[in-house]
């Protein structure tokens, strides 16, 4: 018998679990796709997908549900990573939202609903994807803590939290009826710290906005917003101030709050993350809608 082996570390186990999940989906779904939002969680998920099928490129496309309001740096990294991974990149923008000029400054919650929730549903229907990978983690938010790794959606993309399939061992039941789809979360069991450390150990490219730099900012409703392009409507007399900032999560730039920081390297970012006293999603306006049950309601409506 072989000598005793060193136990796997938590990151090795999380990595192996995620790769196993990704391969199961590809083996059992007809048209899988990876939702790619260009954030750090997407970066890790993409890396895991490449690792799962190496030396082949992952046998599915990347889908970016674009709100047209992402940071410029995000668009740049998106295009670079699609090229580097050898995967097809599909970019979808809800035509109705574009036509009506829906934007985060004038339309508030409607912006997220039209561009993201509706846009995602339209894109999945348009291409007929029956399985979509997402980078959500259970430690992010309370309703996500109870979601399965394989999460079923009705033909109208609804989520029924009371009627989830039991998920035993590492056996995933990917069977579904026509029109139904699955959202799959390979990094469900990762924490924010795990994601950072994995990026660090594997040298995974991420958007530079995660690192501190002097950037033009204004303060709105307690959020520190970055003026990323000239669509930002400044109030009379308002002048953007250069501050050393970085972002803990990335979304639409007018909805994403920055933190003042001097962390310019990954270890410094991780250090700051660990010593901080507020949670990661705190910079996001989206969770605060609809009282305490915000995300749960959004998910039932089809939000990722």
């Amino acid at each position: 018998m072989a000598t005793a082996h060193t136990p796997l570390t938590h990151l090795q186990r999380l990595e192996a679990e995620a790769i196993h999940i990704i391969r199961e989906v590809v083996a059992e779904a007809e048209r899988p796709v990876m939702l790619y939002s260009v954030g750090k969680d997407s970066a890790v998920m993409l890396h895991l997908a490449r690792k799962a099928f190496y030396p082949a490129p992952p046998p599915f496309p990347l889908l970016h549900v674009d709100t047209t309001w992402k940071f410029q740096d995000m668009y740049a990294l998106r295009d670079r990573m699609a090229k580097e991974s050898g995967m097809d990149l599909l970019v979808y923008q809800n035509p109705e939202a574009a036509e009506r000029g829906i934007n985060p400054f004038d339309h508030g919650a409607l912006h997220t609903d039209m561009w993201k929730t509706e846009g995602l549903k339209q894109a999945l229907d348009k291409y007929g994807f029956d399985a979509a990978f997402g980078g959500a983690r259970r430690d992010e938010e309370k309703s996500r803590a109870k979601e399965r790794i394989f999460s079923f959606r009705t033909a109208s993309h609804g989520w029924d939290p009371k009627n989830q399939r039991p998920e035993l061992w590492n056996l995933y039941n990917a069977r579904k009826n026509k029109g139904e789809s699955i959202r799959v979360f390979p990094i469900s069991n990762w924490t924010e710290l795990d994601v950072w450390q994995y990026i660090h150990l594997n040298d995974i490219p991420i958007v530079p906005l995660y690192f501190a730099a002097k950037r033009p900012t204004v303060e709105r409703d307690g959020l520190l917003l970055m003026v990323d392009d000239d669509r930002f409507p400044l109030k009379p007399g308002e002048v953007p101030t250069l501050r050393s900032i970085r972002f803990r999560t990335l979304g639409c730039y007018p909805l994403t709050g920055a933190v003042e920081s001097e962390a310019k390297t990954l270890p410094e970012v991780i250090q700051e993350t660990l010593l901080t006293t507020t949670s990661e999603r705190q910079g996001r306006a989206i969770d605060k809608d609809a009282g305490g049950a915000g995300m749960e309601v959004k998910k039932q409506q089809g939000y990722f």
Binding site: H5, L8, E17, A56, W169
Partner: protein
């Protein structure tokens, strides 16, 4: 308040690289907490998160506000609110689904599955337990060992959790009394022994006050440790044990980007593998040698999270890898790669424990999908040998298994499965059953052993093949499977079809529902289970006759889609011809040749199809006969023309 001893802020602040190095090398323990409704599970988990500083200020602010609004602890913090996630639960103050939580200490990362204690949610507990290394069984010190305690312990033991922690909670409410604690432990020990639990660790705690969670409590000077966290940090995890077992890798995916590369990808279920190892692919039994263990090179040299760059010198249980072989041998998804001289078993009949997870009860004899590792086969379950009363743990007679029921039954698969007893290998012994129509996961199962029948009854290879039989008769065998309501005209039309074929020198045989029930199936009644067995036997007979080269015609109501599909699966592609004799219920009832509808309507005849038992019409039958649009003679001509048109 106890000290947050585990996240060392000072180290993070002073030397982040040193901290990251420590964190990188942490192992992971997955555990579940179970107990009955008010035992304080959520409070304990909230406390663990709070003490390990996994709660941020904004969450804490929300917690303070919520505690005042809906909390059950007066003005004090209600930790349970941290973990009761779904809106419905917060209103009811109970946990209704498995929730996963995360925290770190200096030695380990932990994933906690918070499992509800209600009887109707046994399925959630089994779900949470299936991935756990350890279980914390909570007991309210004021109440002692309850029926729920026994049930949860039994389920944890059944799922194979070897590390059990008995956490006697709410010690603050019994004045930290040692005698109370000792009595509960003695009581539990007796029970544990009776169900075969070899050992457990008992601790006196208070989740609410924080006693003996992270630090030994001054309130229990009679208790010398360990604390709950110390214990969680040091117990052995499953994956460490799995690494020392024989090598098994269920193949998930064959990676073939070009003609020069062919790799077999999967998660190693047990053991370890090195280049040069001789391996065997099951069920085929073909052997080859491992040439490479491929993973993607990434990161700075030597720093990769999987401990290697590109090809690995060795891989162990729990790692996802891709193997390359020296020889081009057949190997595909569902196969298992094993060490050549220690292969797992292959069989198609088993004894298994089943935990039923669905509102719709088990139907013995019905075909379900069975998924085990990466193998998916069609399987049927015999009526249970017995069910287990989870409260008394007695064996009780059972004809089926309802939601949350546990029983032992024989399982038969349509193709051989590569397996190991669940006690030896969770991955190759644990399976789920999936309903073929709704796609719901209806049961979890654990294989005990293969039945001798399957091991000792080998398939006898015969020299005269089914092709030879058919060739001599100069025809293509087929099974014309008539289905439809009673009185639709199945027997009449089937009879005409056979006469016509006979005149055309075809070798045929007609199996009629009523006639078969006079002999082969005279022991069967009309319950759902008996009707399924009726169809299974007829299917097997029809298959033998088709093997003999005959054109078989069957006339049975065969009301359930699943059973018709079961027969279709028994036969080679294209030989099963489903003939739907489509008659509106009103027409069949008006005809009522045998007077059966009248009897059924008056309640003299139970389980009559169309009246008080459903008829599931075919979705895509090969032939559909609309009896309102043609005569039986025209129908017979249509069927014969369609059948021979294929010749």
């Amino acid at each position: 308040m106890s000290e947050p001893i585990y996240v060392t802020d000072q180290l993070i602040a002073d030397d982040i690289d040193a901290y990251l190095d420590t964190h990188q090398h942490k192992t992971m323990l997955r555990f579940i907490t179970c107990g009955s409704v008010d035992d304080g599970k959520s409070t304990l988990i909230g406390r663990l998160l709070y003490d390990s500083k996994m709660i941020f200020e904004d969450q804490l602010d929300a917690l303070h506000a919520d505690s005042k609004k809906v909390g059950t602890q007066g003005q004090e913090i209600d930790f349970a609110l941290l973990v009761d996630g779904l809106a419905a639960e917060r209103e009811q103050g109970i946990t209704i689904d498995v929730a996963y939580r995360f925290f770190n200490t200096e030695k380990r990362k932990f994933i906690v599955a918070d499992c509800p204690g209600h009887e109707q949610y046994t399925r959630n507990m089994v779900t949470g337990a299936s991935t756990a290394d350890l279980a914390v069984i909570l007991i309210d010190a004021r109440k002692g060992v309850l029926v729920q305690t026994r049930r949860h312990s039994y389920l944890c033991h059944l799922i194979g959790i070897r590390n059990l922690v008995l956490a006697v909670n709410k010690m603050d409410l019994v004045d930290y009394d040692q005698a109370t604690f000792d009595a509960i432990v003695a009581d539990y020990a007796e029970f544990a022994k009776s169900i075969g639990i070899e050992s457990f660790t008992a601790l006196p705690i208070s989740g609410f006050k924080g006693d003996n969670i992270t630090a030994l409590s001054a309130n229990t000077p009679w208790y010398s440790g360990p604390t709950l966290v110390e214990h969680l940090e040091t117990v052995e995890v499953n994956s460490a044990r799995d690494a020392e077992k024989p090598f098994r890798l269920p193949v998930q995916w064959v990676n073939r980007p070009n003609l020069d590369f062919r790799g077999f990808a999967g998660l190693i279920a047990s053991g370890s593998v090195k280049p040069g190892d001789e391996v065997r692919v099951l069920p085929s039994g073909k052997t080859s040698t491992v040439t490479r263990i491929v993973t993607m090179p990434s990161g700075p040299a030597g720093a990769s999270a999987t401990g290697g760059d590109g090809d690995l010198p060795e891989a162990v249980a729990g790692q996802s890898v891709t193997l390359c072989f020296a020889d081009e041998i057949d190997c595909s998804r569902g196969n298992v790669i094993a060490l050549a001289d220690q292969p797992p078993q292959v069989a198609d009949q088993f004894e298994a424990t089943l935990v039923w997870l669905n509102d719709e009860a088990l139907i013995p004899g019905r075909a379900y999908w069975l998924k085990l590792a990466t193998q998916t086969v069609s399987a049927t379950v015999q009526p249970p040998k017995y069910a287990i009363n989870v409260n008394t743990l007695e064996h009780v007679a059972a004809k089926t298994l309802d939601l949350n029921a546990i029983g032992v039954a024989e399982v038969t698969t349509d193709k051989p499965l590569v397996f190991e007893p669940y006690g030896e290998n969770r991955t190759l012994g644990g399976f789920v059953l999936i309903d073929k129509l709704t796609n719901a996961t209806v049961a979890a199962g654990m294989l005990h052993f293969s039945l001798r029948r399957a091991q000792n009854v080998h398939w006898q290879a015969l020299d005269i093949s089914r092709e030879a039989h058919a060739a001599l008769k100069n025809q293509k065998p087929a099974v014309l499977w008539f289905t439809g309501l009673s009185g639709a005209g199945k027997s009449t039309i089937a009879n005409l079809v056979e006469k016509k074929l006979h005149r055309m020198n075809r070798h045929t045989f007609l199996l009629d529902g009523d006639n078969v029930r006079h002999g082969l199936n005279k022991d069967l009644g009309f319950t759902e289970a008996d009707r399924i067995e009726n169809i299974r036997r007829v299917g097997e007979v029809a298959k033998l006759m088709a093997d003999a080269g005959l054109i078989v015609i069957t006339a049975f109501i065969s009301p359930f889609r699943a059973e018709r599909e079961m027969v279709r699966a028994m036969l080679p592609e294209g030989e099963f011809v489903e003939v739907f004799i489509d008659t509106p219920l009103a027409d069949a009832e008006a005809r009522d040749v045998k007077g059966l509808y009248k009897k059924a309507r008056s309640g003299q005849l139970k389980n009559f199809t169309g009246i008080d038992s459903p008829y599931e019409a075919p979705i895509n039958p090969e032939i559909r006969v609309d009896t309102t649009a043609m005569t039986p003679k025209e129908a017979a001509e249509l069927i014969v023309a369609r059948l021979l048109g294929d010749d």
